[in-house]
């Protein structure tokens, strides 16, 4: 840890707000300019600022899983295209899961900030693009075998050079993605976010002067590091282990095992995933950057949940994931459905570190990521009438169900929320039914799905989707479907309810689906039911307050 301050503490604390404000302004300008609802409505994007050396100095809090990969992406990008060669007006693009990025759908951009001819900072934006080409609509499919099936791969390239967008790249994108207007529109929004950051950072540098700006930056990073280290120092030294199983359901019947050991030594934490399953022949592998990202997410939840994030948060933490494992796969393993495994990384580490910070921890939560993806022709008469020339519009629909958070010392877990690493909203039934041929028969909490405990787990939810078109291709994906994989209870609390997917429930055609069902061909009237997982309970259920038990009964939570 670095020693004395370069500036006074007040100037540093004002500066921290200024940096965070710039990241926030990037975020609003990106969102404001976005074309797709996945950014505008679902907030599936992130913005951050960097030093020219690659230290993240501030972020806007949107999707923590995306934010955490940016520093590693920066290192790879800078290794391929040295920062000294970035010119004013350039924007670098990269999405290679094997060069510090996450799945290919998340496009990462960097742009340099120059003041008086000198590189003073770097801005970065990352956004989920609904489709970046590949085998299936929406790009991600858990049964992919290689990353080459997962759409366009951008190595570090100058997407914009001296303010001019690269015409070759633009043409290649247009020819390889399913909705070029959306993809290019959202890229333009990402560039707008970068430009806002550049402009505001340049103003800030001019205000302080370069030496003072650099000194303040170092002080901010050092302060954050000091905050982390002083808090970690309070934890009891030792080695803390945990193991989490998740379903594969595609390449093997053998579950995927995430093994983690967190060693707290003084003011540092070493996180080692030795013993974790080898990479799989499917797209559930988690790129190394995403593994690291989720480690930093989990550590921050316990050590400093309210601290403004910068690279100082990561300095006291070392991560090791064995090469060739699901958490550090080797090219060309497929990775597009990495979110299933990625959430398990956070879950495993939080489980291991549970005894260290019981005040900020929670029991296991939904990491099931229950999702439906559907596509086909919408042949409902009303849609046809509204469309130009009366043709059947092609639709794409994707929805993710939240589940239960684990109980904690502070209370019952939240019901029906999107958990670790993400924070996406539920698709409104009315919006879904308007844009795609489905009818939602129920969107409900699942009684009794919260793990029992002094503080019980949050409730899972259930949603039924009836297909109203003649036929469509539908995928149904989730995990945490069995007793070994359900959300875990803590300190005597019970496990949360298991997730499941059922086709045509309550009929003679009822079929229990496995954790990953790719490309089902559904017909009019078929109903898919998705049930998410409930949160684990916290503490001995016998110690639960009478008031809470009475309320659970009255409100039908149990």
């Amino acid at each position: 840890m670095k020693g004395s301050n370069h500036t006074d503490p007040i100037s540093r604390d004002v500066f921290r707000h200024q940096l965070a404000g710039i990241a926030e302004e990037m975020s609003v300008s990106l969102r404001r300019a976005a074309f797709s609802s996945i950014i505008w409505h679902m907030y599936d994007y992130a913005c951050a600022l960097f030093t020219p050396e690659g230290d993240m100095t501030a972020q806007a809090d949107t999707i923590s899983a995306q934010l955490g990969i940016m520093p590693m992406a920066f290192r790879h990008v800078a290794a391929a295209i040295p920062v000294e060669t970035w010119q004013p007006g350039d924007v670098i693009i990269c999405n290679d899961p094997y060069l510090g990025c996450t799945h290919t759908s998340d496009l990462v951009l960097f742009s340099p900030v120059y003041v008086d001819g000198e590189l003073v900072a770097v801005t970065s934006t990352i956004a989920h693009h609904v489709d970046i080409g590949g085998k299936v609509p929406c790009t991600t499919a858990p049964d992919n075998l290689e990353v080459f099936a997962e759409g366009m791969i951008f190595p570090p390239l100058k997407l914009v050079e001296n303010g001019q967008i690269n015409a070759v790249l633009k043409a290649m994108i247009s020819a390889n993605v399913r909705d070029p207007r959306a993809c290019l529109g959202d890229l333009r929004a990402q560039i707008a976010g970068c430009r806002t950051g550049e402009r505001r950072l340049a103003e800030l540098v001019s205000h302080y002067g370069r030496p003072q700006f650099a000194g303040l930056t170092v002080d901010c990073l050092d302060y954050t590091e000091r905050y982390m280290r002083r808090t970690i120092e309070q934890m009891t030294d030792g080695r803390y282990e945990a193991e989490i199983l998740t379903e594969d359901g595609l390449a093997s019947d053998e579950p995927i095992k995430i093994c983690v050991a967190a060693t707290v030594a003084g003011d540092e934490i070493i996180v080692d995933f030795d013993g974790t399953s080898a990479q799989r022949d499917n797209a559930l592998n988690c790129p190394y950057a995403s593994t690291v990202s989720m480690v930093h997410y989990a550590v921050k939840c316990l050590v400093a949940p309210t601290l403004k994030h910068n690279q100082g948060c990561s300095r006291p933490v070392t991560v090791h994931a064995p090469e060739g494992s699901v958490l550090n796969p080797a090219r060309p393993a497929a990775v597009s459905s990495r979110h299933f495994t990625q959430q398990a990384v956070a879950d495993a580490l939080l489980k291991a570190m549970l005894p260290l910070m019981p005040d900020r921890a929670a029991a296991g939560c939904q990491i099931s990521f229950p999702s439906i993806r559907a596509g086909g022709f919408d042949d409902r008469p009303d849609r046809r009438e509204a469309a130009p020339e009366g043709q059947q519009p092609y639709y794409i629909m994707a929805d993710i169900l939240g589940g239960g958070m684990g109980g904690s010392i502070h209370g019952d877990g939240m019901s029906a929320i999107d958990t670790h690493g993400g924070n996406c909203p539920l698709l409104s039934a009315e919006v879904m039914e308007t844009i795609s041929p489905f009818r939602v028969h129920q969107t409900a909490l699942v009684s009794g799905s919260g793990g029992v405990g002094k503080q019980r787990g949050g409730l899972a939810m259930v949603r039924d989707y009836e297909l109203l078109a003649d036929k469509s291709v539908v995928g149904s994906y989730l995990q945490q479907t069995g007793p070994d994989t359900a959300p875990w209870g803590a300190f005597g609390g019970g496990p949360g309810g298991q997730a499941r997917a059922i086709l045509n429930p309550g009929t003679d055609r009822e079929t229990q689906l496995g954790p990953k069902t790719v490309a089902m061909s559904l017909r009019r009237g078929d109903v898919l039911r998705l049930v998410s997982a409930g949160g684990g309970g916290w503490g001995d259920p016998d110690e639960r307050d009478e008031d809470r038990i009475e309320r659970d009964g009255r409100e039908g939570y149990i």
Binding site: P9, I10, R12, D13, V14, H17, Q18, G21, E24, V28, R32, F35, W40, H41, D61, S64, R181, G185, R188, T196, Y223, M228, R230, C301, A304, P305, T306, D359, R360, A361, A362, C365, R380, D382, A386, P388, S408, M414, S415, A416, I417, D418, N423, C424, P425, L426, S428, A429, E430, E433, R439, H441, Q442, T443, L445, M461, D464, R554, E555, G556
Partner: protein, 684 residues
């Protein structure tokens, strides 16, 4: 004519009486009486006496209040039963499934406004295009009405899936429930918020039901009190969108009242800006626990179609007011990493800042400005208490200066800097999201603490000037006297623009306007004072976000130039989102009609002719504004002794009963003809 207004806040009730013949303005400030109209009736008595008027002299009485907001904040609203389509019982519990804090594992969700056990499901279904999928049978109507009645609710909210496409099922339910519970207020989502997305519509409707009975009780109690004192002028209530409404119209949709309190300040700000020729403004109202900001562009306050109030999403038009938890009571601390943080915890009014001697023992923003000498050491606070500067020095010294290794004054200045930085970033983000550059804007400061911080904020943001109205502490009450009656109606009208028929649209708009016309008639608005503004919510086909686009008044076939409308939409898109794609076909989502009943309005009065003389300070005192310079002698003026034309070179402090105005070194204040202190932040 005399205009009376009352702005009831959490702490104080402000009253203003304005006489448009003499221009006389009388103000009265007294402690609020929570949940009752007592403070208002007492205050009216006092203000009439002070002005030498009687209740019968009052021509209009406009009222802004926080009853609805407080019911939400303290979760003390009505016992509400919610009626929903079968399968959607948990629409409020599930919400949008997002978390407020992405790194907090132990956070809880606020409980829904209608508990799960108070939700009744109905077997019925309307489809996405308004078609009936499951008819609502009369036996089901009876069953639901009986179930609702058995729950003995104080209010009922009814929100069925796709009721915005066809409200027939909701209306049938309302009739059935009214038969069973004739005296219980019931609200339909197709009336309250006729827009797609079941969670936003249902929550907004539930808010209306939740706050409705309290608003009703309050308005009735107030009306009775006014009648007792022979105040027979029409009572108008301030709405969130900056319009006013009659009590009867208010009770039809009480969810319009959620920002009734802060709205007045924004309206007054816009009016004052027009008088001063400053049409682009940021209004800044800072009190004890929070600071409100809003943007006024080209003289018009910005409105927003959706916001969060007390943690609850509310989808109704309201003034675009951003609130951050930074106030005089915000608590300063040094964290484990050695950083100075200010807020979001607040000492509030009780126990309050340490220097108020009401039991507060934490260093607050107010303690910091006391240490710096900005507040007068011999000031008398409300309730006759003296400001205890030594106590402020103690808490700032022990809690902030010592751990940071700073002098007490440097620590106090640090608290002001950090608090200012937070507000500055909030304004930047607000203006960036709205696509404006605030450096071209004026900062209008009101509230007790606003005029203290405005100079710092304007300096940091590079804003050209600060405007401090004559009585910043009661400014919002002025705004209440500058409003028009408003009624709005929204009707879904999904249609590609290419397929739209202008004759049918005109007929639809006419039908909507006729409904609103009846409302204006009921309000007693004369024909000549009625105005109709028409708009269509439009979007690009394939995109999610929609924008309101003004429509011309229909005047026969061919009235709607589709190319022109598309161009207007694309221009609005460019303004809102920074880009526009002219080749993309557009569609209409809904039609909007706003009916405006023009009301007589108060005006800002000229207080006197400009003088070229210099003002005489009442004294000097040492004020610590800059760590490099330490305490510097600073001229102190008394606001009521200032005359138009008086120049106030910084550093200067202007004291007045309801606030303190600070002018920094390098800035210069000047009194305008309207009694406003206009502080230029740049030497140019």
């Amino acid at each position: 004519m005399r205009y009376l207004s009352a702005d009831v806040g959490g702490t104080f009730t402000d009253l203003v009486l304005y006489d448009d013949e003499s221009g006389a303005l009388t103000v009265e400030k007294l402690p609020s009486t929570a949940g009752s109209a007592d403070a208002i009736t007492t205050g009216i008595g006092r203000i009439l006496q002070a002005a030498g008027q009687t209740a019968a002299d009052v021509g209009v009485f406009v009222h802004g209040f926080t009853i609805a907001t407080n019911a939400l904040l303290t979760r003390s609203g009505a016992d509400t039963v919610l009626v929903v389509t079968k399968g959607f019982r948990d629409v409020l519990e599930i919400g949008d499934q997002r978390r407020r804090e992405i790194y907090a594992l132990t956070e809880g969700k606020p409980p829904p406004l209608a508990a799960r056990s108070r939700v009744v499901e109905v077997d019925e279904r309307i489809g996405a295009f308004g078609e009936v999928v499951v008819p609502l049978e009369s036996a089901e109507l009876d069953r639901v009405a009986a179930s609702v009645a058995a729950l003995q609710p104080e209010a009922v909210a009814i929100s069925l899936i796709f009721s915005h496409r066809d409200p027939a099922h909701e209306q049938a339910l309302l009739a059935a429930i009214k038969r069973a519970l004739p005296d219980v207020p019931a609200y339909l989502s197709s009336d309250v918020n006729r827009q797609i997305d079941e969670y936003a519509r249902t929550n907004t409707t539930t808010i209306a039901a939740y706050v409705g009975p309290q608003v009703k009780r309050y308005v009735e109690e107030l009306s009775a009190g006014l009648e007792r004192m022979n105040l027979t002028a029409p009572l108008l209530l301030m709405r969130s969108d900056g319009g006013v409404s009659t009590p009867a119209a208010t009770l039809e949709n009480p969810a319009h009242m959620l920002l009734s309190g802060p709205a007045g300040g924004v309206i007054a700000g816009a009016a004052l800006g027009r008088v001063l020729g400053a049409s682009d403004l940021v209004t800044f109202d800072m009190g004890g626990t929070s600071a409100d900001f809003s943007l006024i562009q080209a003289g018009e306050p910005r409105t927003t179609s959706e916001r969060v109030v007390a943690g609850e999403p509310l989808r109704l038009p309201s003034l675009d007011i951003e609130t951050i938890s930074a106030g005089g009571g915000s608590i300063a601390e040094v964290d484990v990493g050695g950083a100075l943080t200010v807020g979001p915890q607040s000492a509030g009014a009780v126990p309050g800042p340490a220097c108020y001697q009401k039991g507060g023992n934490k260093a607050t923003v107010t303690d910091a400005i006391a240490v710096l000498g900005i507040l007068s050491a011999d000031a008398t606070l409300a309730g006759g208490l003296k400001l205890d500067v030594d106590r402020a020095r103690d808490v700032v010294g022990n809690q902030i200066a010592k751990p940071l290794g700073l002098t007490v004054e440097a620590a106090a200045r640090g608290i002001v800097s950090v608090s200012t930085a937070q507000m500055v970033e909030a304004v930047k983000t607000l203006s960036m999201a709205r696509g404006c550059d605030v450096r071209q804007f004026s900062l209008l400061a009101c509230g007790g603490a606003g005029p203290v911080f405005a100079a710092f904020i304007a300096e940091q943001l590079g804003m050209a000037e600060v405007l401090v109205p004559p009585r910043p502490g009661v400014f919002a009450a002025n705004g209440l006297l500058m409003c028009d009656i408003r009624h709005t109606m929204l009707q879904p009208y999904p249609m590609a623009l290419s397929a739209a028929d202008d004759v049918r649209i005109a007929a639809q708009l006419d039908e909507m306007a006729t409904g609103l016309d009846a409302a204006l008639t009921r309000d007693g608005v004369a024909e000549d004072d009625r105005l109709y503004q028409l708009a269509a919510d439009m979007r690009c086909i394939g995109q999610f976000h929609e924008l309101p686009v003004p429509l011309p008044q229909p005047d026969g076939q061919g009235w709607l130039d589709k190319n022109k409308l598309a161009a207007t939409f694309h221009a609005a898109h460019e303004l809102a989102y920074g880009h526009a794609d002219l080749d993309v076909p557009v569609e209409i989502v809904s039609l909007r009609v706003e009916a405006i009943g023009r009301m007589p309005k108060a005006r800002f009065q000229v207080v006197g002719n400009e003088t070229s003389e210099a003002p005489v300070p009442i004294g000097q005192r040492p004020v610590f504004l800059n760590a490099d310079q330490g305490f510097q002698p600073c001229d102190v003026y008394r606001r009521r002794e200032l005359r138009p034309g008086h120049l106030l070179p910084g550093p200067a402090v202007i004291v007045q009963r309801d606030s303190t105005v600070l002018v920094l070194s390098g800035q210069q204040g000047q009194m305008t003809r309207h009694g406003v202190i206009r502080i230029k932040t740049r030497s140019s």
